[in-house]
């Protein structure tokens, strides 16, 4: 068996608030294989988003180990870390907040191509058009400002930015939660197509088990910063063992109608 793409062990992050220390993430371990989708689910405050930010080195963990592509990801810094970030991308929940309010679609997609030296200046407009078409948008959107396009289009632009550097893993932090139901289905289909064609692995963070069931291979359910249970996504959702897993399944009533 080949080594996993991402392996996280003993990850811990504590915050001090008013003299008390709260563990937002407490001794969490998981791994992701290439081309696989691992879902992190749990109620608000269970540490899902903190894990996303820890994996992306946006915050520093207090303890634990992150191996990405067989490399100690926590030991990287400076230019090396910035270069490695090309392989590990993220899509945020609120597609409007995730972009500089002054940016245009073209600039948002130009940045990763420029920073990682993927395309020369003269080549970039063509690459940007290709990226927009790849996520099902018209290349005519390129000169538009980010705030001028719809929420669904914006999330497609966010996905285009994430795949611009050909990453092996994309962290999707509630990436479809802010979208309305019809757009959500389209974005999920796009993510599945991208995964099939480019063998991208996803760390899919969501509180919606209906969506998790549709996209994830394996599922980790978190509660108060610790892992409550984990396993094959369908198995866990169909027969949750932990109290919090049962509560989450009950809270997703549409599962009854979309079941197998």
């Amino acid at each position: 068996m080949s080594s996993p793409l991402l392996s996280v062990s003993g990850l811990t992050k504590r915050y001090r608030r008013g003299g008390k220390t709260i563990a937002a993430v407490d001794n969490v371990s998981f791994h992701i294989e290439p081309g696989e989708t691992l879902a992190l689910a749990g109620p608000s405050g269970s540490g899902k988003s903190t894990i996303a930010r820890l994996v992306l080195r946006l915050v520093q963990p207090d303890a634990g180990d992150i191996q990405f592509k067989g490399e100690d990801f926590l030991a990287l810094g400076g230019a090396t870390l910035r270069a490695r970030r090309a392989r590990l991308q993220m899509v945020f929940q609120d597609p409007l907040a995730a972009f500089n309010p002054r940016a245009t679609v073209a600039r948002v997609l130009d940045d990763p191509l420029r920073i990682h030296g993927i395309a020369s200046r003269s080549e970039r407009p063509r690459r940007i058009a290709a990226l927009l078409e790849r996520v099902g948008l018209s290349p005519d959107l390129a000169p538009r400002a980010i705030h001028e396009i719809s929420g669904g289009q914006r999330q497609r632009v966010a996905i285009a930015r994430a795949i611009a550097t050909k990453p092996s893993l994309i962290v999707l932090d509630e990436a479809v939660s802010a979208l309305d139901v019809s757009v959500r289905g389209q974005i999920l289909r796009l993510l599945l197509d991208l995964q099939r064609e480019e063998r991208i692995a996803y760390l899919f963070i969501s509180h919606d088990l209906g969506v998790v069931r549709a996209i994830a291979h394996r599922l980790v359910i978190l509660d108060a910063g610790t892992i409550a249970e984990s396993g094959d996504a369908r198995t866990v959702i169909d027969a949750p063992q932990s109290a919090i897993g049962k509560a989450l399944v009950v809270a997703a009533p549409k599962l009854d109608r979309t079941g197998p």
Binding site: A83, R85, L88, A98, F99, T165
Partner: protein, 276 residues
Amino acid sequence: MSPLRRFLRMPEALAGTAILAVLFAMALAAPLIFPGDPQAIAGPALLPPFQDWSLPLGTDRLGRDVLAELFHGARTSLAVGLAAAAAALAVGAIVGTLAGFAGGLVDDVLMRITDAFQTVPSFLLALAFVSAVGPSLGVVVVAIALGAWTGPARVARAEVLSIRERDFVAGARVIGMHPLEIAFREILPNALPPVLALSSVIVAAAILTEAALSFLGLGDPNRVTWGGMIAEGRAVLRTAPFLSIIPGVALVLTVLGVYLAGEGVIETTAVRRSLS
């Protein structure tokens, strides 16, 4: 309603703009209407205004044309005021952005330096600097900027502190952007509007500081300044008060114009920001 039309509906903003327009016209037209040295003798000494229509505002103690001096003085006032304010805003925005974005030790060091500059009265600082380095236009600009950059630095830092926690900054880090590029290309432009709102106050203060320095004889000696004209007229204040009053009124109108026009711009952009 477009920002321009909203601006045009504010009488005080219009008045300020009109004053500034006249002033800029004076500054630009000075070498055309009054070619040659404004400090050259043009007629009899201490000619009162409205006596000789070739010298409408009269002459000073040395027989220099007051109107020509007024026009050429507008050049100095505006140039120094705008240059000093631009320098102060640029330095303040850069220092504030670095402090707010870097945090930790960098933030502490930069903000203590800012404190140090803020505790010294800015006019004394300018005075000391010009006295030490010697009066010239560039030195006066630096001297004034030295006391004016702390306000913009604090505002920029506060703004950057809130912006750097936003998702789009995290997004810029995720795509591997260099921290300096994040600070100056992603954060600074978004932190700028409240900093620029200070500009009218800073320009007005810079013009007054320049006048005060010139009044004390620390302006560029090769240039006519309104402050210098007032100082010149002080010796004959009883017999020829117009020599001090005319540049004094010009100064008051300039500061008023800068302030009113600046407030108008802030008001219109503020409304536009809250609407969007």
